[in-house]
């Protein structure tokens, strides 16, 4: 479900929440907990086409357009990365393509302490955000035509 908050607000809120935790063990714990709340990933979309490139672990991301909003399903075979993709999906869920495209470019940085993860290419945070943006571009072209 789309949050009542904007992408920007939600990003800062999650960033602040993570920063407030005492150390990285707890932060990873919180991130993994978000991963556990992800809705099950539809097995029929566990396909090469929906793998996000540039992550050390496997990350699947499947977008669906309904009522002009994009709904994402996501999964990963690694727990922390699954938590990360869940976090990103929580921020971006059920938004219009326009909202996603208008989102700040520095989401990774604004997640604050997750900067460590975002600069860590293998975590794939940057790739996930890029992939979401690409889907938004694709859908925005479809909805506008």
């Amino acid at each position: 479900m789309q949050s009542t908050k904007t992408i920007s607000e939600l990003t800062d809120e999650i960033g602040a929440m993570l920063e407030a935790l005492p150390d990285w063990e707890e932060r990873f714990g919180a991130i993994m907990a978000m991963g556990k709340e992800l809705a099950p990933y539809p097995e029929e979309f566990r396909r090469e086409d929906f793998i996000v490139k540039g992550c050390q672990s496997q990350v699947w991301l499947y977008p669906q357009l309904a009522d002009g909003r994009i709904h994402f399903s996501a999964d990963s075979d690694a727990l922390i990365v699954k938590g990360l993709v869940a976090l990103v999906v929580r921020i971006m869920q059920d938004r219009t393509p326009q909202e996603i495209l208008a989102a700040p470019k520095d989401i990774a940085e604004r997640l604050g302490l997750v900067q460590h993860l975002s600069q860590n290419r293998s975590s794939g945070l940057a790739s996930m955000l890029k992939q979401i943006r690409l889907y938004a571009v694709a859908f925005s072209m479809r909805t506008s035509s």
Binding site: K53, Q56, Q115, H116, L117, Q119, N120, R121, S122, S123
Partner: protein
Amino acid sequence: MHRVEPSAPLLDVAALRTEFPILHRTVHGGKPLVYLDNAATTQKPNVVIDTIADFYRNHNANAHRAGHVLGSEVTTMFESARRRVAESIGASAEEIVFTRGTTESLNLLAATMSGRFERGHRRNIVISEMEHHANIVPWQMVRDRTGAEIRVIPVDDHGLLDMQVAEQIIDDSTAIVSIVHVSNTLGTANDVHRLSAMAHGVGAEFIVDAAQSISGMNIDVNEIGCDALVFSAHKVYGPMGIGVAFIRGRLMESLPPYQGGGSMITSVTFDKTTYAEGPLRFEAGTPNIEGAIGLAAALSWRDSLDMSSVIAHKHALTLSLTSGLASREGIRLHGTHQGHSGIVSFSVDGVHSQDLGLMLDAHGVAVRTGHHCTMPLTARFSTSGSVRVSAAVYTSTDEVDFFFSALDRALTVLR
């Protein structure tokens, strides 16, 4: 070439010099070093030296591959360095490939663009008579492999490119035009805008060798309109072993990889390997991260100066050098540009350039003699090579005066 603004604020050269530890050393038992071989390599300010030491003391790790905090820090530093380089030449970070230096950048371009000559009707590459060997030999290697033709824009007696010939030989069978921005031997600045327009006018790609221009002028790849531009960090106050190939996005996409190894792949099996996109495709193996960060520090240092003041200062140095030389008997200037490169070459009738260089060195004055890695050009002006004096931003007018007194003394002994 930039316009020299007479109103530019005066550069505080004395203050600048305190930032360069080597400028305070002496040679040959107490003689102050007068370093006038800046076209060969520039000296490094403290901020560059300290950046390198700090990197190894506090951060060192391998970039890109690591999942740990040092690795993330270093990846951030490395990729910020790429952005810093991109910014300072008006490019985007995805267009910046880190190489060992100008020479490797040109070899990379020559090797990966050589397919241009293997198909289609474009069979020649245009360079000039004033190119550095680094912009000649790689193309000769391509020629030997593909049968491409090398066309050469001649240099006139003033050390300028003959643009009329350029107009003729750059034609629709030309695939690439690759030209030096500022000649390392003559100091001449070429009109890269016009050459860029000529190249693009016939559908050819345009490469600029900015090895000598990067330290003393603002460079904007979009303003020039070039498809690639290359330089070395060590000639712009940065460390050795690192350089840049700016390659415009659409050109980069069309190029096959150069060297193979780690980082430049997305997957490897013994049957088939797939390659990464963007600059990483051309950066096989552990990159010179230290070097990239040191280069970024050097460019930041450069950009902290007021470029119009730098240009005015180097213009004044260039004029003192050329007028001082012209006023002495038996001295022949090679090229007669009135620019601000700080580079002036000359020969003296009846005096071998090497003797002069050694004699100047006896007084602590470091200049370069010989062919300056531009044999075809140097041969055009003198058989015994030339003496090249090259000033940098930290060169003082006192040093130029000292050079002339040492020159006069040396000539008395040698003639």
